[in-house]
Amino acid sequence: MSIIHPFQSSVSTNDGTLVFTVVKNTILAFRCNPGSWNYSLAGSWVDTLDRTNLIKEKVIKEQQRQLAENAAAAATKKSKSTDGEPVVRSVAKVPTPGTGAPPIYSIVRNLLLSRDNKMLFACADSDKSILVLKIDTNNKENCLTLVKRQPYPKRPNAIATTEDNEKVIMVDKFGDAFEMIINEEPKDKINEFEPILGHVSMLTDVMMKKDPESGKQFIITSDRDEHIKVSHYPQCFIIDKWLFGHEEFVSTLCDFLWDPRLLVSAGGDNYIFLWDWISGKSLFKFDYSELIQPYLTDANLAPARFQNETNDIVEYAVSKVVSFANLPYIAFFVEATKALVILKINKDDYSLSLFQIIELPCNLISLFANTTQDELLITLDNRESSEKDFIKFVAFNPEQNKFVINEDKGKSIDKFITDKLKNNENVTISSKDDVYPLYNIANLKKHGEAFS
């Protein structure tokens, strides 16, 4: 029996009428008919890129390079046989992935809507590219069309758009940040792209900000070495400051519409940091380690090779933090837990305090805040319940003074998804274990090498 793969992430348009989600290598668009919670499929796009040709090309290129090198070596008589004759090795090795090389998925990641909601950006793992999809709400057949596919030398890890909506800024796993002009033909010679800035560490998130007083623009980048770097933009070569304080990798950054000076960061340590990124001050450091304890399970145990004899080393990390347009709260979750944690920001002294924990039926995979609607979209690892709990909607209820799950809306979309997609091969899997990697944040933890 096949089941629908859990939804890896989701975003929604400002008015809430369109929801985009990623399932495996497919982007789906759902339309929510106004006034009701009746959903319809508005569009889809599948990454069908076949990597075999791509790999073949690379192999041939590498072999040619090796042959040329061998010939050159022979010409300079560097390699000789026992009787002194130069040897030309005419066979080139075929590069094959070594043991332990990570499998390559054609997963789609990092959904991001343009500020005007007319474009959808995403990253494709298959060829390490940024995808630009046009959203045409008038097209009743399929509102999504791919208009650009720009490959990069290293795997993209996060994207952001510039203030003027003209560029996408991408940060990669090698530590470099690139900018891409949206309305320009894709470029080749990707190995000659010049980064706008770089870290000597994997980059995990990026954010474009503006100082409302001076009007200066900044790019904020976070990495696996505890660093958050604030650089000028577009003069990225001028570093303004670092925000120091994290003790482990930083995985997520989040800003606020109601106060552009504020920034929240979190990652592999026990703290949620609230910063004034303009002055560089750390305003508050919230320790969430105790409140998360009841929600940690065996899934949060450290990998076997870093485990101790009693098998009780736990490694967890915040996967995502989001804010609201008007409400003084932030929401976050720790990877591989069922808890959505909501903290309140006290506007008088910028302290953070626990406001609410919402326990969901299964582990959270992704979290998105629709800032205009002040609504959270949560996708869940629903492999156990398989026909429900794909997406949950959470919003603030002023009467109860707390955040509540909109169960009816969730049920409605679950039913629609199950009915509509059950037989769609692009989004189903034959077994529960056949999933794309859903948990990869805690892996960023550094363990230090035994030798040095």
Binding site: D176, H232, E449
Partner: protein, 293 residues
């Protein structure tokens, strides 16, 4: 079975030497060495010369991967750094604060030759060497302990020290914006392979970080190498960077540090023996341009 390296064989001379030195280091690394700390001779008289460390006991592979997760110690931020542990002589006992700051950094200081030659020339500056290889760092530490001890009457070598660290990753953890006057890159690892170029110590993106820690309008980057390719690479990247400006030959001729750099480092001496070429390029950290809004 693979035989253990000498350094891990308890019967070997190298092992014994390293253990002995390590104890010595533990004891003296952060101590303010002055006349009271000198070991006493059997006849009760103070002062004895400490033997300088021997390089052959500190052998290690010549390269270290700057991208890997080494077990490194570094402060959370520059304000968390306790410099008095490295330069105890410059701590004001009454205020508990440092009287001087580190203003000269030798990135990849190797066996520390440059530090030792720079020390007497810049008595007002604290000079820090950064080295990623453990044994090499240990050697420099032992060398500095011995030198401080042997020059105790004139308070020599109190302004230099070394740290094991990865400057490519954690330089901003140690230094504040504009703290440094001089940065040296002497005979860096050439990383010949094209795909290893990001591992080079001078790249466009890293230069922005060096520019951050260097004093605007004054700071100088010194580079020297015997590999022409690398020299051209460093010059190309430094020239292309909007915050650096090359200093001319006339300046080089008159600069004391250029002379020291040319002759002081072990690598430099080796090249000299082999009559190899030495390529030098120095760049000033110019002031930031106007910020575009």
């Amino acid at each position: 079975m693979k035989t253990k390296p000498l350094s891990q064989d308890p019967g070997s001379k190298r092992y014994a030497y390293r253990v002995n030195k390590e104890e010595n280091r533990k004891e003296l690394k952060h101590v303010k060495i002055d006349e009271t700390t000198l070991p006493k001779k059997s006849n009760g008289k103070k002062s004895s010369l400490m033997e300088l460390p021997k390089k052959r006991f500190y052998r290690q592979r010549a390269h270290s991967n700057p991208f890997s997760d080494h077990q490194l110690e570094y402060p959370k931020s520059p304000s968390d750094m306790d410099w008095s542990r490295l330069y105890p002589y410059y701590k004001d006992e009454s205020t508990g604060k440092m009287t001087n700051k580190v203003t000269i950094a030798d990135i990849g200081c190797g066996f520390g030759g440059l530090l030792i030659d720079l020390s007497p020339k810049f008595p007002q500056d604290l000079i820090l060497g950064m080295e990623i290889r453990v044994q090499v760092t240990n050697y420099v530490e032992d060398r500095i302990i011995a030198l401080r001890n042997n020059n105790v009457t004139k308070q020599g070598y109190q302004n230099i020290n070394v740290l094991r660290g990865n400057a490519m990753k954690f330089l901003p953890n140690f230094f504040e914006k504009g703290q440094l006057n001089k940065m040296f890159f002497c005979f860096p690892d050439p990383h010949f392979k094209q795909r290893k170029h990001k591992a080079r110590i001078v790249t466009t993106t890293l230069l922005s970080e060096y520019a951050y820690v260097l004093k605007e309008g004054e700071g100088v980057v010194y580079t020297i190498t015997d590999v022409e390719d690398l020299h051209l690479w460093m010059v190309k990247h430094l020239e292309a960077h909007p915050l650096f400006e090359r200093l001319d030959e006339e300046w080089e001729k008159n600069d004391e540090c250029v002379q020291i750099m040319r002759n002081a480092t072990e690598e430099g001496k080796k090249v000299e023996r082999k009559k190899g070429a030495k390529y030098i390029a120095c760049f000033r950290r110019i002031s930031n341009p106007e910020i575009i809004i």
